[in-house]
């Protein structure tokens, strides 16, 4: 599961929608097996689009869970009207490595509201629920 996906996933339990703690899920840093796919090439336009879609606080939260605390505390503002600066491109390249090239192969993610644990097995997150939570 690409790290980018963590930015889109909340708890599947409907009752948790009332809480603000159902997104992002908490990732177990010590148990997560990470893999990198350097063959996915950097694409400036694609990453600029991604920047519009991501919730920065959630990026920080998940990166922190996985032991990465080097990200800027506020979302980098890109001036897309002009050519991106070298600094902007450097930020985008870093995020490309983190969000697109890095995946969680095995691990768990836990709802910070209800505590339900979801497994990531062979890079595929399993968001199915037992009947008492469905």
């Amino acid at each position: 599961m690409k790290i980018l996906t963590t930015n889109f996933l909340k708890c599947a339990v409907k009752a948790c929608d009332k809480s603000n703690d159902n997104f992002p899920l908490r990732y177990s840093g010590s148990e997560c097996e990470l893999v990198q796919d350097p063959s996915i090439e950097f694409n400036e336009e694609f990453m600029t689009n991604i920047m519009d879609r991501i919730d920065w606080d959630a990026v920080l939260s998940v990166a922190g869970d996985l032991g990465n605390t080097n990200l800027p505390s506020t979302k980098p503002l890109l001036n897309t009207a002009e050519q991106l600066s070298e600094d902007d491109l450097a930020v985008l390249r870093d995020l490309h490595v983190l969000l697109v090239q890095t995946s969680i192969k095995e691990g768990t993610m836990t709802c910070r509201n209800c505590g339900h644990v979801y497994y990531i097995k062979n890079s595929i997150p399993n968001l199915l629920l037992p009947p008492h939570l469905a």
Partner: protein
């Protein structure tokens, strides 16, 4: 001033062809007059602003072949020449192309000519092109497009009944039908959707580069491939994890994307019940494109217990000191669900998650032989824009395309009502008798 262009189309899936051309025109904000469009003709002469508009419009079309700058037409070669020389733009086109390198091509519809092509090309000498002929990389390609009338079902015609002449502006994206052909795909399954119509579906759904497309019943990922081809970031989910996992490391959805070179745009497939959705509510999903389960291979299922009383207290069962439901190998129980209810949920989800103007497109099967009107699901926020039918022998399926118009739209609604008269699965297995 607008210019005349000729679109040369394929004569298959004519129920989908106009929807595709209209959707692509809308995507590029092109005003096109469809009043002379005919389902039974492969030719469509239109007026457009410039070559760029023509190229934008046709470059990702699947059900057309190409678009040409229109030079003239006739019922035979002589009339074609007369027509070309009589056009008001003839002298201008002639001088525009005077020094370009070029070649001639022939396209034939429903027949083939035995005439001497070199002689035919020489009959165009009056255009006085002075550029070099270049068969490999010409600056311009001039094409004679011929329509024949077959002599009988088995005998193609040999003398054209209609000829067009034009300068090639843009070939369509029809080569993608070959590229995404299921025969060449490393991982596919019994429910994989054919390449041609899944690409057409993505066009009618207006999948855009840089947008997010979601397929809630992704199966082996056929629509995800089409969405990725048109540049969207694609997310899929399916309640059946077996389809997603595939058949080992070299045969799964992800290896398909690697082969197509679209890996960056493939976000993930999730093992997830669409009706217990885990995509955050603030995530804007631009397009939803899917082929919902008809319940033919197995019944439609969602999370939950069929007999809830049997599961009372099961959440407290422990195995080796861990709650059974919290273990890595736990498999949750599922219960049957109706197609009507599932489609209601899909329309409701689309109305909540798509931006205004965003499209929901999905396939729905129906039996043909009953004299019962097919009732298409409707939601008050969604405009039903297209209902394109593909006929088979005893059943048909249709691509339904909705546009989210927001809560002010207040269209007709039939959500929550029982629409299907007979279970499609039962009808299918009784061979529609």
């Amino acid at each position: 001033m607008k210019k005349k262009y000729l679109v040369y189309m394929v004569q298959v899936h004519s129920n989908f062809r106009r929807a595709e051309l209209e959707s692509l025109a809308d995507l590029y904000q092109l005003e096109i007059d469809f009043s002379s469009y005919r389902d039974d003709s492969p030719f469509f002469v239109v007026e457009l602003e410039d070559d760029k508009a023509a190229s934008d419009w046709i470059k990702r079309s699947i059900l057309s072949r190409a678009i040409y700058e229109y030079w003239g037409e006739g019922d035979n070669l002589h009339e074609l020449h007369e027509s070309i020389r009589g056009q008001p733009f003839y002298e201008k086109y002639k001088s525009d192309n005077r020094t370009k390198t070029f070649k001639f091509e022939f396209e034939s519809y429903r027949g083939s000519s035995k005439a001497n092509r070199v002689k035919q090309i020489e009959s165009f000498s009056y255009v006085e092109f002075q550029g070099k002929i270049d068969m490999k990389r010409p600056q311009e390609i001039f094409t004679v497009i011929e329509e024949y009338e077959p002599i009988s079902d088995n005998l193609p015609g040999t003398v054209p009944i209609k000829l067009f002449f034009g300068r090639l502006i843009q070939c369509s994206d029809r080569a993608a039908v070959e590229k995404y052909d299921l025969k060449k795909r490393p991982y596919k399954g019994t429910t994989s959707f054919e390449a041609e119509l899944s690409l057409v579906s993505a066009n009618i759904a207006q999948v855009k580069p840089g947008s997010i497309m979601y397929d809630p019943f992704s199966g082996t990922g056929s629509f995800l491939c089409s969405g990725g081809h048109y540049g969207a970031l694609v997310i899929g989910s399916d309640i059946d994890g077996r389809m997603i996992r595939g058949k080992g490391a070299q045969h799964n959805i992800s290896t398909n994307f690697e082969m197509y070179g679209d890996s960056a745009r493939f976000l993930n497939v999730l093992t997830m019940d669409f009706t217990h959705n885990a995509l955050r509510r603030t995530l804007v999903i631009d397009t939803i494109l899917c082929d919902p389960p008809y319940g033919i291979r197995e019944g439609i299922k969602v999370l939950g217990a069929k007999n809830p009383e049997r599961f009372i207290g099961k959440e407290n069962v422990e195995i080796d000191g861990t709650k059974a439901f919290a273990r890595r190998d736990y498999i949750p129980t599922k219960k049957p669900y109706s197609l009507d209810a599932l489609l209601d949920d899909l329309l409701q989800y689309a109305s909540e998650r798509l931006p205004v103007g965003g499209r929901l497109a999905f396939w729905m099967p129906t039996a043909n032989d009953e004299n019962i009107e097919t009732i298409v699901p409707l939601h008050s926020n969604l405009e039903l824009r297209y209902n394109c039918v593909q006929e088979f022998n005893k059943w048909s399926r249709r691509l339904l395309v909705y546009i989210n118009r927001g809560s002010e739209y207040s269209g007709n609604e039939n959500i929550g009502q029982k629409r299907s008269q007979a279970n499609f699965r039962d009808r299918y297995f009784s061979h529609f008798n």
